[in-house]
């Protein structure tokens, strides 16, 4: 009796056999379709279509600043990128270097801070408000301020390092340390996110394992490595996933601070692709670079998702 009621819900008009409007009829039969259609159309037009277009263009050669039309060349763009283009290989390596460095620093720092902050104190809300400021501040503005601080002759960073007897450094003007200097800015910006996500994860941890471990006489270190870390793994992996995706695609801070320089020492794939496509107007080649970058991001993501599901 109750089951019958539950399987026959819906507008009174339909149940009582009254003539229903075409609209409500449709809404009842295909709710998923109707609710998601507007978003779906927009997503398709706005996002899916350009991606297909990019993939299509990656098989062509088109120097768009002349009056020529795109020319189909198959996979020659990809061959050129991997085999002939030294600047591409440089960009590929730098992208990985930057991403690994930045995510490692953020993760370690972020989790450490989360553990430190995982205790009750007053003003948690205020603290969190201030703590997430670096994340929400406009990246362009941040990049400019850091550029100022990193200035080799006038910047306050050299002043501060000088106080502890180090430096002076050329920071982002030094081809040898430009990537770490940029990774430091990214770390400054996003460590709070990792900390907040980890704190949220810590809050959901069960107490029993710790209680039994205490009874068994475990040290804090043991509790951390054997209980906390494994339990936090899913949370940390998600944070790592999101940050990896973003770091691989970092553009704003690098472009504003160095434009890929000095020379090409900080030209990651995204920055290189920007130059090739929107500065040199080699649309076809740029499209192929984008396909490669997308594949890279996808590949890294799949690996991380798998790691999250499986074991270390």
């Amino acid at each position: 009796m109750i089951k019958e009621m539950q399987t026959a819900p819906g507008p009174a008009s339909m149940r009582e056999g009254k003539p229903a409007s075409w609209w409500s009829h449709l809404a009842e039969k295909h709710p998923v379709l109707l609710f998601t259609l507007p978003a779906g159309i927009v997503v398709f037009g706005l996002m899916v279509f350009p991606v297909f277009y990019t993939v299509y263009m990656s098989l062509h050669s088109w120097f768009a600043s002349s009056l020529t039309t795109p020319e189909f060349i198959g996979v020659r763009n990809f061959v050129r990128a991997f085999i002939q283009d030294e600047r591409f290989r440089n960009a590929f390596v730098l992208t990985i270097y930057f991403t690994v460095l930045a995510t490692a620093m953020q993760l370690v720092l972020g989790v450490a801070l989360a553990l430190l902050l995982n205790r009750p104190f007053r003003g948690k809300g205020l603290f969190r408000s201030i703590f997430l400021l670096p994340m929400v501040a406009t990246p362009v503005a941040i990049a400019l301020v850091w550029m100022m601080m990193y200035n080799p002759t006038l910047g306050v960073m050299n002043y501060l390092t000088g106080l502890v007897g180090l430096g002076p450094y050329k920071w982002v003007s030094d081809a040898r340390i430009v990537i770490p200097a940029l990774a430091a800015v990214d770390t400054w910006e996003w460590t709070p996110l990792i900390t907040l996500i980890t704190l949220a994860g810590l809050a959901t941890l069960p107490l029993e394992p710790y209680e039994s471990a205490l009874i068994d006489g475990a040290t804090p270190a043991q509790m951390f490595w054997r209980i906390t870390l494994p339990l936090l793994r899913p949370t940390i992996m998600v944070a790592l996933l999101f940050r990896s995706i973003d770091c691989l695609k970092t553009f704003d801070i690098i472009y504003v601070m160095t434009a890929g320089g000095p020379g090409f020492a900080s030209e990651t794939l995204n920055v290189y692709t920007f130059q090739v496509g929107l500065f040199y107007f080699h649309i076809g080649y740029a499209s192929s670079l984008l396909v490669i970058l997308f594949a890279l991001v996808l590949g890294v993501s799949l690996v991380l998702i798998k790691v999250r599901r499986g074991s270390w």
């Binding site: 002759t153 982002v172 003007s173 320089g261 000095p262 130059q275 040199y280």
Partner: protein, 250 residues
């Protein structure tokens, strides 16, 4: 050497890859080289050319501010106008920055000269003008042409030059005292001289200018960093040839 007792620098120049290339053109020509041979092959791999790259790099490495390889004109001009560098080579259109009463510390203390001549007396001056161009595919050719004529007419150039100090290229305006009004005397003089014997090749005369400027700029950066200049220059030439082959003669 500077007011606040801090050591200053001998010279400030652009070093940022593509940005540096256009200013480096002066050095290149002063040393007796140029961008392309008459047969449109890279010409700057000659001894004179390599010497030019080497000199630019050495000047910055030894006498310039640290981090020059990342400096665009705004950084370099800033260092100069704050009195922290003794010399500054760049486009003369930047003089309003240097003579800005609100920001510049060296106002009134600056002399303007022609680009120094090379070992054999060659002139390095480049005539770097911005032009108006109409693409073949334009659908409004007549109005565009009329606009182009109006925009470059003597009256407009005179207005811009005398009121805003935007350097124009009409000799008649330069000869007029009103046109010279805001421009420092020695700048006008050197500009008039430079226009006469300068080369218009302030950028490599290729179709893919942006890309080639970056390629040449990379060699400049290597020179500033103290790397193998000849190898870098040869690489720039090879890249330039490839880019030209891809984007021209189609």
């Amino acid at each position: 050497m500077t007011d606040d007792g801090q050591p200053g620098f001998g010279i400030a120049l652009r070093g940022k890859r593509a940005a540096a290339t256009s200013q480096f053109a002066g050095m290149l020509h002063a040393m007796g080289s140029t961008w392309l041979t008459p047969g449109r092959e890279p010409a700057f791999t000659s001894d004179e050319g390599v010497k030019a790259f080497d000199m630019w790099g050495r000047l910055l490495r030894l006498y310039g501010p640290p981090g020059s390889e990342n400096n665009h004109w705004y950084e370099a001009s800033s260092i100069f106008s704050q009195g922290k560098a003794a010399m500054f080579m760049d486009a003369n259109s930047l003089f309003p920055v240097i003579e800005d009463p609100q920001k510049s510390k060296v106002i009134g203390k600056v002399g303007y000269v022609l680009f120094p001549r090379g070992p054999k007396g060659q002139y390095g001056s480049t005539v770097a003008v911005w032009g108006l161009a109409m693409p073949k595919s334009s659908k409004n050719q007549k109005p565009a042409w009329l606009f182009m004529q109006w925009a470059t007419a003597k009256a407009q150039v005179m207005n811009l030059q005398s009121e805003k100090g935007i350097l124009g290229c009409r000799e008649s305006v330069w000869k007029d005292p009103k046109g010279k009004g805001k421009v420092p005397g020695d700048l006008s003089e050197s500009l008039m001289q430079g226009s006469k014997m300068g080369t218009p090749l302030w950028n490599p005369p290729v179709v893919a200018v942006a890309e080639v400027r970056d390629t040449v700029g990379a060699a400049i950066v290597t020179s500033i960093q103290g790397g193998d200049v000849r190898a870098a220059v040869n690489k720039a030439a090879t890249d330039m040839k490839r880019i030209m082959a891809e984007t021209e003669n189609k």
